[in-house]
């Protein structure tokens, strides 16, 4: 599950679920336990990684994880095993005896993730798990999250939309504190009006390319770019229609030189823009 929101309460939502803040209205339950009334039981089913991952900088990685395991009520004889497992999983073996204060941002992030995983919780809540990481670290953390998705329910918030497409099976879009959409990424992509389109780059000579292209059935709108001989057309088409073959036929008929003809897939970014924009207007 994923969140996309901007200063409209995703951290607040997560903090409420983690029993860090009380809800001002309504209620939330984790594994059947109310996060406010039965906070202790709810917390026992939860692995939470807060935004910016606050950690004790004076502790060593293994020491910290053992401490957290004990607090989370991991059975005494299983602590060593669990700590070893999460260190393995999050790639912390090489820094296990380092002070947390001396770790890079990426490693701190992984310590936070390892901590969240310690008690094998039913629900993992990750607030901006990849913020502040370099591209390689982002890829590693994403891969890790994706693999974890098999065994845990994961609720994560992010501002990076390709990340959602890559890792999440359900998306909630929150805008101005309201849930605007909640569905699988595929369904969301299918729902929006401009379900992708076709991009075409051609030398059309004296022809008015846009008018010709508009005649093709299924094409709704054509946007023309480019000053020189090579023109770039962006075609918005009805969803489920592939007009590329028609475009090619037209080009050969008219003797246009073609140097690009491709289909552009709609992204969650389009979904987000459409949903939040229509709301703003």
């Amino acid at each position: 599950m994923g969140f996309r929101a901007q200063r409209c309460g995703q951290t607040t939502t997560m903090r409420i679920l983690a029993s860090f803040m009380p809800p001002t209205s309504g209620r939330a339950t984790i594994a059947g336990f109310d996060v406010f009334e039965q906070s202790l039981q709810a917390r026992a089913h939860l692995g939470y990684m807060p935004e910016n991952v606050p950690l004790y900088s004076d502790m060593r990685v293994t020491e910290y994880l053992r401490y957290r395991a004990a607090l989370k009520g991991v059975q005494h004889r299983r602590v060593t095993e669990r700590v070893g497992d999460v260190k393995e999983l999050c790639g912390l073996k090489s820094v296990e005896n380092k002070l947390i204060g001396a770790l890079s941002k990426g490693y701190r992030q992984r310590v936070g993730l390892a901590d969240a995983l310690l008690a094998e919780p039913d629900l993992l809540i990750l607030d901006e798990p990849t913020i502040g990481l370099d591209p390689n670290q982002i890829r590693q953390v994403r891969e890790l999250i994706k693999n974890l998705g098999d065994q845990h329910t994961i609720l994560l918030s992010t501002h990076i939309l390709p990340e959602v497409e890559m890792t999440c099976s359900r998306v909630i879009i929150i805008h101005k504190g309201r849930i605007e959409a909640c569905d699988t990424p595929e369904n969301l992509l299918g729902k929006i009006r401009q379900a992708g389109g076709v991009v075409l780059e051609a030398k059309v000579g004296k022809d008015n390319g846009a008018d010709e292209l508009k005649k093709i059935s299924g094409v709704r709108e054509v946007i023309t770019d480019g000053q020189d001989d090579w023109k770039r057309f962006s075609l918005r088409v009805e969803s489920g229609v592939d007009v590329r073959e028609e475009v090619f036929r037209l080009a050969t008929e008219r003797h246009w030189s073609l140097r690009e003809l491709s289909q552009r897939r709609a992204t969650l970014e389009d979904v987000f823009v459409e949903i939040t924009h229509s709301d703003a207007v």
Partner: protein
């Protein structure tokens, strides 16, 4: 219980991971060492009615160092966690708020006790050098250290309360220093305000830490101060617990 012990050991180790612990230890040993030296050399020069041990625990030097250490020990307890945000992972694991509060209080108390252990050496050295005990009886030692523990509990719990109220360690230290100093000098008011009635003076006398220490260091174990300090500690810790829980509504 295991969670409480885990939190407690983290607190105690936290002290020794930070330079503040060592600075407080050194500062305290220097001042109390000078105190001890002065008392002994003073007694070498003239005839007095009290013992070395009594003098040690009742001198101005002693009280000066004494009121200063509590803000230093307690200021970081909660304020640092709030400042660094580590309060968030701490309170989102299944531990109860009172476990956190008690662990922090007892962590501070353990450090405070560790602070006092070296002073036992002074008396041991005195005995070895002079072949004379520094006090009349073992009860005098027991009384002094019991009073130290009682006062320590009370003042540390005040420090806990001020630390939970703010995320700024300096503010926590200043407030607890003022509160502890005021409480401490409350007992001295009877010597300053001469026009107050004798009842008021007696009443203030009950709160006088200096008087309590005077009694206990002679080996007289009075139950009234014990009840006073233990109950006040419980009150302060209850308030700390309440204030700690209120964080949820103040965010």
């Amino acid at each position: 219980m295991r969670k409480f012990y885990t939190l407690l050991s983290r607190e105690v180790r936290g002290y020794f991971h930070s330079p503040i612990a060592y600075i407080v230890l050194i500062f305290f040993l220097i001042v109390s060492g000078i105190d001890f030296y002065f008392q002994v050399s003073f007694m070498n020069q003239r005839q007095v009615q009290y013992t070395v041990q009594e003098a040690f625990f009742n001198s101005v030097f002693f009280w000066f160092a004494f009121v200063l250490i509590f803000p230093l020990i307690t200021m970081r307890l909660f304020a640092e966690e709030f400042k660094l945000g580590t309060i968030e992972p701490l309170t989102t694991v299944p531990v109860r708020d009172w476990q956190v509060v008690l662990a922090k209080f007892f962590g501070a108390l353990v450090f405070y006790v560790i602070l006092w252990i070296p002073t036992l050496l002074y008396f041991a050295i005195f005995l070895k050098v002079t072949n004379e005990p520094a006090a009349h009886s073992a009860g005098a030692y027991a009384g002094s250290y019991l009073m130290l523990l009682l006062l320590g509990m009370f003042y540390l719990s005040i420090g806990c309360l001020t630390s939970v109220l703010t995320r700024n360690q300096i503010i926590a230290a200043i407030i607890s220093f003022c509160a502890i100093t005021l409480l401490f000098f409350l007992g001295l008011v009877q010597f300053i305000l001469l026009d107050v009635s004798s009842e008021t003076r007696d009443l203030l006398g009950y709160f006088s830490a200096i008087e309590h220490m005077g009694t206990f260091s002679r080996g007289v174990i009075d139950t009234r101060p014990i009840v006073l300090y233990v109950s006040m500690t419980i009150v302060m810790l209850t308030l700390t617990h309440q204030a700690f829980q209120s964080r949820k509504w103040r965010l």
